[in-house]
């Protein structure tokens, strides 16, 4: 066990966990931030996507000890009122089916738009390919990313 102070959604949080603990489980089990989902644990599905200094990152393979002073943003911290353009577009297009993968999809999409405000279809697909949606909401996700890009 060791104590770590990490920057999450603009607040410093202190946790006492094993250094090998992935950020995913620190968020979920220790900080009550359950929006970041567990899907595979091996960086294959994207359900656990967070922003690490603005870059979409899989929290399931990011150990707490490697975070250092980096800024972490989770789905809960993407916007104060749930009104980030990507979140709004997701609602407008009624993207979610079961909804489980969507926090990860939204985090990947918002990081993409931050770097590339006007992505082509191919760029969207490449950026989003690490995020599986078992319910098959892919066509609507693309629609929503484009809608968010416009706003």
């Amino acid at each position: 066990m060791a104590t770590f102070t990490i920057n999450i959604n603009g607040t410093k949080q202190e946790v006492d966990v094993d250094p090998s603990t992935p950020v995913l489980w620190v968020l979920r089990d220790h900080l009550n931030l359950v929006g970041t989902k567990y899907g595979c644990g091996i960086a294959q599905c994207g359900a656990c996507t967070i922003h690490l200094d603005g870059t979409a990152t899989r929290a399931c393979m990011l150990t707490v000890s490697s975070v250092g002073n980096s800024e972490i943003t989770t789905i809960e911290g993407l916007s104060e009122e749930g009104d980030h353009p990507v979140q709004k577009a997701w609602l407008e297009v009624d993207v979610p089916q079961c909804g489980y993968c969507q926090a990860g999809q939204i985090m990947t999409a918002s990081a993409l738009l931050e770097k590339n405000p006007n992505p082509t279809d191919e760029e969207i697909e490449m950026a989003m390919n690490g995020n599986i949606c078992r319910c098959g909401t892919y066509t609507r996700i693309k629609k929503a990313v484009k809608l968010a890009a416009k706003s």
Binding site: V34, K37, C40, G82, G136, T139
Partner: protein
């Protein structure tokens, strides 16, 4: 208007004013942590009045509607309350939806499966709304001294035009609780709807996009421990021994023990399908600590029955295809005689592998079992069956068992089998503590309850003019006999023979979205294409000819045929028009149609140019599911179903080596991804005012057939073996 008897669950209409007050939140406190929108918080009433088990009206006119059935992404949590709200005649913006707990006294069939929630809930949901509206009208009539018949309702407002009286539902809600529950109520005429048939967004949408706790895995409660299981690494193996001592002292670990999840004397239901009798449990403070202990734990397993490999399943299924069925499932005319005189014979064999459900949210459940009571909370499609098993497993009467459902991160049939919830309860009972059982992805994928592996052989005979005169189908599956003998083209061919076999194996299987149809439809529709080609006919027209036959001069007893040929032909005609079938699109196209789970679906699928596995450019889909409750959600569901069918038939497979699943996570088990998904999807509905049927499954099966047929147009070769990505022609030379 239609007059119906109010006859749903016996307690649904007993007023219980004791429950009338109190806030929104019932049951488990974690649900209280879900933030409501600011508008909802501001508009919460001071008092709620329960008019029946399905709904409460607040003193300010807000309405809470209970959604009785489990939500697995099929969107019943939005569409079922829409039906109640329609008959209640309230404005949708004033409705708050709550997930109902298991309550067999009030609700009937609280189950998500077989695409039946809407179809079977249709009447009772309408009655619940209509009964409450009746009581509100009566209350207003008494208050104003007028006849209830003269009172009209709209958007939650009662109006008596002659006297100029008008009041919101909230003002009459209290008085309405004293009105006698009517013996019969009037329902609106189909077609006279203002909520049904309009686009309504997912009621959980705002919570989903902000990451609020909704799912089973999101349950965290005071003093809760985390549990994981270790199950045998291979089908055919069972627990022998383990050395747990060193693991028990790992950080955060509370206990490690071998236990009987299902002792022999437990009374099981079908819902305990793939139950593994003996498991190892690891219980600790946190998920990561349990995962670490799981890795370190050394368990010895022993062989209990055969260790089967995929090569064995394949050979055994293939040999069943050579074997006639003693009593054929259906036999019309004489296929042998017809084949003997046929001008052309077409014959093909199709196959598909095992599939795992792979819901994005792995299996999990919260349980707190004490000697006094059992509280269970989690993602389950069959809470009623779970309760039955728990009565036996925990030795507790049903009254002491509370089951609540969370939103589910996918179901696809997997959560029909609540073995994980029984395991959670058993672990909690043993630990005497609240426990959340969590399956790792690997546990989830290698645990069983799979879509069976299948093979089917078709043989068709055509006469000189290209008429279908004989059809023979023989199918086999692992633990499942695959064939629906009375489905199309039964009834449309004079000589018809359907035979089926099941191969018993110890690899556990279960319902997987559109059971059996998820394979047989694609195979049948691909074969139909081959037959049409041999007949020299357009594949869509060829199918319509057969439906004509089934309409005008059905073979055998038409009652026996498990489809309505007019509605079947209807979707084909609609898709033909919408996709401009027959005009040259310049793209490779395939068509397919199928009927299952009471709904009809036809698709035209178009591929992009190029490659071994060209991408789907566009799907045009026509659906007949009767009245469409929520067109937006219905389209979403249909899109998802088609992508599911196309994705799995193209990429996915689960294989075995000596009983061990060879894929245990998404690195080796391939699912469709963004860059492989269909680019455009168009969905059209047949507008016929017939009572609604389900949509969770019916769009999936035909998509595989339409894909196969388009692939043939694109590549010039037929795809017989799923996953198609591996179905390469043998190397020549």
């Amino acid at each position: 208007m239609t007059l119906v008897k109010t006859k749903i669950g016996r307690r649904a209409f007993i007023r219980n004013t004791g429950l009338a007050s109190g806030g929104l939140v019932i049951g488990f406190s974690w649900l209280a942590s879900c933030k409501m929108t600011p508008e909802q918080v501001n508009s919460l009433p001071d008092e709620w009045f329960e008019l029946n088990g399905f709904l409460k009206v607040g003193d300010n006119g807000m309405v809470t509607i209970m959604s009785p059935n489990p939500e697995i992404g099929q969107n019943v949590k939005t569409s079922m309350p829409m039906i109640v709200a329609e008959e209640l005649d309230t404005a949708w913006k004033n409705v708050i939806v709550e997930q109902a707990p298991l309550n067999t006294d009030i609700f009937t069939r609280q189950l998500a499966g077989g695409s039946q929630s809407i179809r079977q809930g249709w009447e009772s949901l309408r009655m619940a709304g209509a009964t409450a509206r009746h009581m509100l009208k009566e209350a207003a009539a008494q208050a104003w001294g007028v006849s209830a018949d003269e009172i009209t309702t709209e958007d939650g407002v009662l109006t008596h035009e002659a006297s100029g009286n008008s009041a919101g539902y909230g003002e009459m809600a209290s008085a309405a609780t004293n009105i006698e529950v009517p013996e019969e109520v009037q329902l609106k005429d189909n077609g006279n709807f203002s909520i049904i048939g309009t686009d309504k967004k997912n009621v959980d949408g705002p919570k989903i996009v902000t990451g609020q706790p909704l799912f089973g895995l999101d349950v965290y409660k005071e003093g809760m421990l985390t549990a994981m299981i270790v199950h045998p690494p291979a089908f055919g193996m069972k627990f022998k021994s383990m050395n747990a001592e060193s693991v028990k002292s790992m950080p955060g670990i509370k206990d490690v023990f071998h236990f009987e999840a299902y002792p022999e004397d437990v009374q099981k239901t079908w819902s305990d399908g793939g139950a593994i009798p003996e498991l190892v449990a690891i219980v600790g403070d946190s998920t990561w600590e349990c995962m670490q202990a799981k890795k370190a734990l050394d368990v010895e397993w022993e062989e209990a029955s055969d260790l089967e490999s995929t090569s064995y399943h394949d050979q055994a299924l293939a040999s069943l295809l050579e074997k006639p069925q003693e009593e054929p499932a259906r036999k019309d005319g004489d296929v042998d005689a017809a084949f003997a005189k046929a001008a052309k014979i077409v014959e093909s064999t199709y196959s598909a592998p095992y599939l795992a459900h792979n819901t994005m949210e792995p299996m999990n459940f919260f349980a707190h079992v004490t000697p006094e009571k059992a509280e269970l909370l989690g993602p389950i499609q069959t809470p009623e069956f779970l309760e039955q098993t728990l009565v036996s497993r925990l030795g507790m009467p049903a009254e002491k068992i509370d089951i609540m459902m969370t939103r589910m991160g996918g179901g696809f049939g997997r959560r029909l089998y609540g073995t994980f919830a029984v395991e959670a309860a058993a672990i909690s009972q043993k630990m005497n503590a609240p426990v959340k059982l969590v399956y790792s992805r690997e546990d989830d994928m290698t645990q069983g309850t799979y879509r069976p592996s299948y093979k089917v052989k078709f043989k068709a005979g055509l006469d000189e003019t290209g008429n279908l005169i004989a059809w023979h189908v023989r199918g086999a599956g692992t633990n499942d006999d695959l064939i629906f003998e009375n489905r199309f083209p039964a009834g449309a061919v004079d000589n018809y023979l359907a035979e089926k076999h099941s191969l018993q194996t110890n690899v556990t299987t279960g319902a997987w979205r559109a059971p059996r149809s998820n394979f047989i439809a694609g195979a049948e529709q691909a074969f139909m294409d081959e037959v049409a080609e041999a007949a020299g006919k357009d594949p869509l027209e060829f199918r319509l000819e057969l439906f004509d036959r089934a309409i005008n001069n059905p073979v055998g007893d038409p009652e026996k045929n498990d489809y309505d040929p007019e509605r079947y032909a209807g979707v084909l005609k609609l898709v033909k028009e919408k996709a401009n079938w027959g005009s040259e699109s310049g793209k490779a196209r395939g068509v397919a149609a199928y009927y299952c789970h009471n709904s009809y679906v036809a698709q035209v699928l178009e591929l992009e140019d190029g490659g071994d596995m060209p991408r789907v450019d566009k799907i045009t889909c026509a659906v007949d599911c009767g009245i469409v409750i929520n067109p937006l959600a219905a389209k979403n569901q249909i899109e998802g179903g088609m992508i599911d069918g196309i994705g799995h038939s193209t990429y996915s497979a689960l294989t075995f080596e000596d009983g061990r699943p060879q894929q245990s996570n998404f690195d080796r088990y391939r699912l469709m991804r963004h860059s492989e998904a269909p680019k455009n999807i168009e969905v059209h509905f047949v507008d016929n005012g017939i009572d609604p049927t389900g949509l969770g499954e019916p769009s999936l099966p035909p998509a595989i057939g339409a894909l196969s047929n388009a692939l043939y147009q694109a590549t010039g070769r037929r795809y017989y073996n799923q996953p198609f990505i591996n179905d390469k022609p043998p190397l020549v030379g």
